[in-house]
């Protein structure tokens, strides 16, 4: 279970949400669905996700707001925008806000799988790199002989994953 890619899909189009979730689950992803921005932010606070797939135009909280909040609250999460309101401007804006990718609807499923894979790899790499630097720090602290310092650093490392 731990190896599964944890994905949060947010879209107000329920039919679309159901069918894409099913397709991705068939490919071994751990998919969680949310039909609006507020729910999505709440769910992300409860569970950990590697990636999120976001629609932009939604009733209530807008996709770009959700993007901002998720990026702020979760260090390693990568976010891909999947929207029918595709435009150059919104793509640039979302990229600035830290979105990993931007896919206009209707999309090609393979392209989606590719971008999910790339984003996941990036997320894992960053996590790995971050862990490495931390580990190095721990090693340094350990060499200094501070057992308490090591314990504190390990706790920080664990917190980072959120």
């Amino acid at each position: 279970m731990a190896d599964k890619l944890r994905l949060l899909i947010v879209d107000d189009e329920v039919k679309f949400l159901d069918s894409i979730a099913k397709r991705l689950e068939m490919r071994g992803l751990d998919v969680t669905k949310a039909t609006n921005g507020k729910d999505a932010v709440e769910i992300a606070r409860q569970q950990k996700f590697d990636l999120a797939l976001l629609d932009l135009k939604m009733p209530g909280m807008d996709g770009s707001q959700v993007l901002k909040i998720l990026k702020a609250e979760h260090k390693f999460i990568e976010i891909i925008i999947l929207t029918g309101h595709g435009s150059m401007e919104s793509a640039v804006e979302c990229t600035k806000l830290g979105a990993y990718g931007y896919l206009p609807k209707p999309y090609e499923f393979d392209a989606l799988l590719d971008i999910l894979k790339e984003a996941y790899e990036k997320r894992m790499m960053q996590k790995f790199e971050s862990d490495q630097t931390r580990l190095q720090k721990i090693m340094e602290i350990a060499q200094g002989g501070s057992a308490l310092g090591v314990l504190r650093s390990l706790k920080e490392l664990d917190d980072d994953e959120r």
Partner: protein, 562 residues
């Protein structure tokens, strides 16, 4: 097939319509120009014509009167001379009453030396018996004149002379006489001379000023005294009795079908009036101006103006039609432009169902893919097929609505409720856009709002333009309030109130100008409001704007219920 026919018929119909419209335009413009340019000219010409007629008539009258007065003065002078001739005889110190026969003869010779109009001369005693006579009618001697009116009148009159009307008297030949009385040595005596009217007439005719008038002399009763040969006989009835209250004047008399206009002048010496008439009575007064030239000139100017007006009318109509065509083209272009904006907005509406379809198709493929380990029954697939079907129809609805808007349809005037029209835009057409925009729409509809006769598409275009602007002005979250109402003066108003950024005074000045836009490049054409404005104006309504910067704006469309 039936549809094909219907499609073709409006073409022929519209050319007939265009022709009659063209004719109507020509007629209207021609009348307008003619009224503007010709009417004042014609009024001026008619005014001058009447002024001229009056002036002309006045000068004719003055002319006639002058002749009459001159002739009267001349006659008075002549008659006074004759009276003086007689006075000279009677006042001669050597005059003896009664005069002897040779003395009478001598007197006659003296008179005739003064004027050859004298025919004879007689002497009367107080009893009215002619005691002395010289002339060619000797039998008149010793005749009793005491009962003759002239003798009685002379006796009663204050003045010392009398001039009789022309009469036949004892001699049965037209003549008139001048009598003079005196009292010499207690004796009342009268000296009387007869004058020949024919000679008298010659005297007048020699003074006749022009050949265009005829001159006659009538007495108080209107009987001819002196008359030209071709006009009645002396002592004949002239039917002209000039008024006695004025010495000189102009009068009219109707003889049969002829209205005769004449000038008269009363003599001072005798109860005679000089009558002057035009030789050709009833010459019609000129219609326009005196001469043919003036009439022709006026006519030529009117013709010239008419030609100019016709040319101008054609030009104006061509210009109007061109302008209307351009306007129609502009409106259509603007409509297409706003459709362009609209379709950009609607594109994502289609993208969403397309995404659903492609995902559903992918899912069905996955289900049938053995590699993905699916062992699905056909029944499991059916809901996804139904879903695809639904999404296809969702797309079709969107395109259909879009097409109904884009189509260059003839304007169809039908009664519509604005409430329904707005609902069609907000609920059917724009529902998704509104749902995801975080902008609330509040509707304050008047329930029984009167229907207006209008074209639904044009109305929707106006409302859509205003709503689009309202949405663009709002940074979500916000609210658009649509209020419909009607007043007692036959107007309905639709107010769109937004909580947007408002309009600056500078923007307000240009808000209805074509191509004015505050939106980003590529987002707005600047045609929406200008087109809405022109449509509303063409429907006899108006659009008003109120705005508070930073608080929002209210656009109110007021339309007449017709």
């Amino acid at each position: 097939m039936a549809e094909e026919k219907i499609k073709h018929s409006p073409d022929t119909g519209s050319t007939i319509l265009r022709d009659s419209y063209y004719r109507e335009l020509i007629k209207r413009n021609f009348l307008r120009l003619a009224l503007t340019y010709l009417a004042p000219l014609i009024i001026l010409i008619v005014y001058f014509h009447f002024q001229y007629r009056e002036f002309h008539e006045h000068s004719r009258h003055t002319h006639l009167q002058a002749i009459a007065e001159y002739q009267a003065n001349t006659l008075d002078l002549f008659l006074r001379e004759r009276i003086v001739n007689l006075r000279n005889l009677i006042d001669d110190p050597q005059f003896q009453a009664p005069p002897s026969k040779p003395a009478m003869q001598h007197y006659l010779e003296r008179l005739q030396k003064s004027s050859d109009t004298f025919v004879d001369v007689g002497f009367f005693d107080s009893t009215g018996i002619q005691r002395g006579y010289a002339g060619h009618l000797d039998y008149l001697e010793d005749q009793d004149y005491s009962e003759e009116s002239w003798f009685i009148d002379l006796k009663d009159d204050k003045s010392d002379f009398i001039i009789t009307d022309i009469y036949l008297g004892f001699r049965q030949k037209p003549h008139f006489t001048i009598g003079i009385n005196r009292i010499i040595e207690g004796q009342y005596i009268v000296l009387r001379a007869t004058l020949d009217p024919e000679k008298f007439y010659e005297y007048i005719i020699s003074h006749e000023k022009t050949k265009e008038v005829k001159i006659s002399i009538v007495n108080q009763e209107g009987y001819y005294q002196i008359v030209t040969a071709h006009e009645g006989t002396p002592s004949g009835d002239s039917s002209i009795i000039p008024p006695r209250n004025q010495k000189i004047g102009i009068d009219k008399v109707v003889l049969g079908n002829n209205k005769i206009e004449y000038a008269y002048a009363w003599l001072l010496t005798a109860d005679w009036a000089v009558i002057v008439e035009w030789v050709e009575q009833g010459i019609p007064l000129p219609v326009f101006g005196t001469q043919f030239g003036l009439t022709a000139f006026s006519f030529a100017i009117i013709l010239l103006l008419l030609a100019i007006i016709i040319i101008r009318t054609k030009k104006i109509v061509e210009f109007q039609i061109e302008r209307e065509t351009t306007k129609a083209q502009f409106e259509h272009a603007a409509k297409l432009a706003s459709v362009g904006e609209l379709s950009a907005g609607v594109a994502h509406e289609i993208n969403n169902p397309l995404a659903v379809i492609s995902t559903e198709v992918g899912l069905i493929k996955d289900m049938m893919d053995p590699e993905l380990g699916g062992s699905y029954e056909l029944d499991d697939i059916v809901p996804h097929l139904i879903s695809i079907d639904e999404e296809v129809f969702r797309c079709r609805d969107i395109t259909r609505k879009l097409m109904s808007f884009v189509r260059k349809t003839e304007i169809k005037l039908m009664p519509h409720s604005v409430n329904v029209l707005i609902d069609e835009i907000t609920d059917a057409f724009w529902k998704q856009e509104i749902a995801v925009s975080n902008i609330e729409i509040e509707k304050n509809y008047q329930d029984n709002i009167p229907e207006i006769v209008t074209d639904a598409n044009q109305m929707k275009q106006i409302f859509l333009n205003i709503l689009t602007n309202a949405f663009d002005a709002i940074t979500p979250p916000g609210k658009v309030t649509i209020t419909t109402s009607s007043d007692h003066e036959g107007h309905i108003s639709i107010a769109f109130s937004d909580t947007g950024k408002g309009i600056t005074p500078q923007e307000m000045d240009q808000i209805f100008m074509p191509f004015f836009t505050t939106k980003e490049v590529g987002k707005g054409t600047g045609l929406g409001l200008s087109v809405s404005y022109s449509i509303v104006r063409s429907l006899g309504g108006k659009i008003t704007v109120e705005s508070i910067l930073g608080k929002g704006s209210v656009f109110t469309v007021v339309l007449p219920v017709r």
